[in-house]
Amino acid sequence: MSANVSSKLSAAVPAVEIRGLVKDFSSGLRGLKLRAVDHLTLRVEAGQVYGLLGPNGSGKSTTIKALLGLLEPTAGECAIFGVPSGRVEARREVGYLPESPYFYRHLSGRELVRFYARMCGMGGATLESRIDEVLALVGLTAAADRRVGTYSKGMLQRIGLAQALVHDPRLLILDEPTAGVDPLGTAAITELILQLKARGKTVLITSHLLGQIEDVCDRVAILDRGKLILEGAVSDLVGRADRQALVVEALPENELAELRAWLAARGRKLETVETPRTRLDRIFLERVGKKDA
């Protein structure tokens, strides 16, 4: 097989493939089954930022754990870059940030990232420079030699990202990465996801804060009580192809009447006139950003 054909084939392999995933948990002494994931089928193409959305208890984290081989599915199959999740090889190209991460408190941030890097088989002369690089990327260079036990929630999230990124994986799985993080931290994570996307990485994000990740996702799947209720490209789901919004400087009443008449002459209708609003987190970021500068 030529290298060209081989690369085309590998490009066709999805980053994540979940087929008919079912996960039941036994509860109580009588062994009653609680279905956490119900016949879920998903496909995440390489290079996409994919959002797995849904309220708490909808089965997002269970899906992620099954995908990572951390729990055994009751039925169905999961694969990462074509490798079944049960195999250790499947996790070689994955960086994972769990929900509310908790790391070895006795290690410093640098020691922690070094530990995980070595667990991924890294070593040699490039190891330390790569550790410095990811610590800088997540903005923890100054706190790198402090014990993880002294880190704030946002810093734990960032050191979690550093350990997930240190071996430069092709797929990054972020489980509720913005939960409990302040707007600055959320913006930094969003920025990082966009950078990773630009470098061709695949990112799978779960979140119950639908609005927060809407901006960065190419595609989303929405789960409810373990079932897939909606899946598609973000632009298809939230955009309206038959409508357009034009933002202009404020028009006096008479000019607005002229515009309506001009549209009416062409068989069009001005449906809504409203004052554009910004978001509170944007105002916060602008103010804090200016102050920091």
Partner: protein, 278 residues
């Protein structure tokens, strides 16, 4: 598809991290101080001044401290260091890396065994120092009782420490086996303690089945008794007298016995842990 083979290097990294975690926790320090206190304090528990047998009392205290606090440390550290990974969800991040569960179990085992080795080595050295110091004092006080020189064989003390460590290694492996399927740390600690007691009494059951006439009792009963290792076997160097030293072949056999039980218990722990939901 490139495979990820089992890596002893990764297991050693987990062991190193486990050892570091234990060292930075208060647990090891707590048991170490208690044991050190007993060994050193034994000298002042009572002023015997009855010559050489006092050294036996000191050695009994030292090995008793090593056995008791060592067992408590082995069981508690195994349970604590294993369940802290599960309960704090650090295992989630670790096992999401290309890491075999067997590497995780082996790493935990080696880490706690290293803690036990440090504990036994330190206590053995301290016991040797206390014995040497007291022996010197007694030699000056009762020269006639030491007419033929010192009575303490420090080789036997070292061998005693080594055998204690081997026993603790087996206890760590068995505790890890319990932890691999137990749901709580408390269950692991309580079960580990019972296992420790049963292992000391195992020889009684073994004796009874061996004496029994029937094939069924000897093989089925003996087999069931063999589920638990015989901890009395590790009392091979239970003397300060060099004349009581066991042959090297016997020490090697006991080491193989311990290694065998460790290997089987760890393998079974991997078996139980392989599908555990993290």
């Amino acid at each position: 598809m490139n495979t990820v083979p089992f890596s002893l290097r990764r297991a050693l990294l987990i062991a190193q991290n486990t050892l570091l975690e234990a060292a930075r926790q208060k647990l090891l320090l707590f048991f170490l101080l208690l044991a050190l206190g007993l060994v050193v304090g034994a000298r002042w528990l009572r002023d015997f001044s009855f010559g050489a047998p006092e050294l036996k009392f000191l050695a009994d205290c030292g090995f008793g401290a090593m056995a008791f606090f060592g067992a408590a440390l082995a069981i508690a550290a195994t349970a604590q260091l294993f369940f802290s990974e599960i309960e704090n969800r650090t295992a989630l991040t670790l096992l999401a890396k290309p890491v075999w569960r067997a590497e995780f179990i082996l790493g935990k085992f080696l880490g706690v065994v290293a803690v036990a080795a440090f504990f036994c080595a330190l206590l053995t050295l301290l016991l040797m120092a206390v014995l040497r110091w007291r022996e010197g004092e007694l030699m000056r006080e009762f020269p006639e009782a030491f007419a033929q020189g010192g009575v303490v064989s420090y080789g036997m003390v070292a061998l005693g420490g080594l055998l204690q460590w081997l026993k603790l290694a087996v206890l760590v492996a068995l505790s890890l086996l319990v932890a691999s399927f137990a749901q709580t740390q408390l269950f692991t600690i309580v079960t580990g303690f019972f296992v420790f007691v049963i292992c000391h009494l195992q020889y009684l059951a073994q004796d009874a089945y061996t004496r029994a006439g029937s094939w069924f009792a000897q093989n089925v009963g003996g087999g069931l008794a063999s589920v638990f290792p015989n901890f009395q076997l590790f009392a091979l160097a239970d003397s300060l007298n060099a004349a009581d030293a066991p042959p090297t072949a016997h020490v090697v056999r006991v080491a193989l016995y311990a290694a065998g039980y460790c290997a089987v218990a760890c393998a079974l722990a991997v078996y139980c842990f392989r599908k555990r939901e993290i």
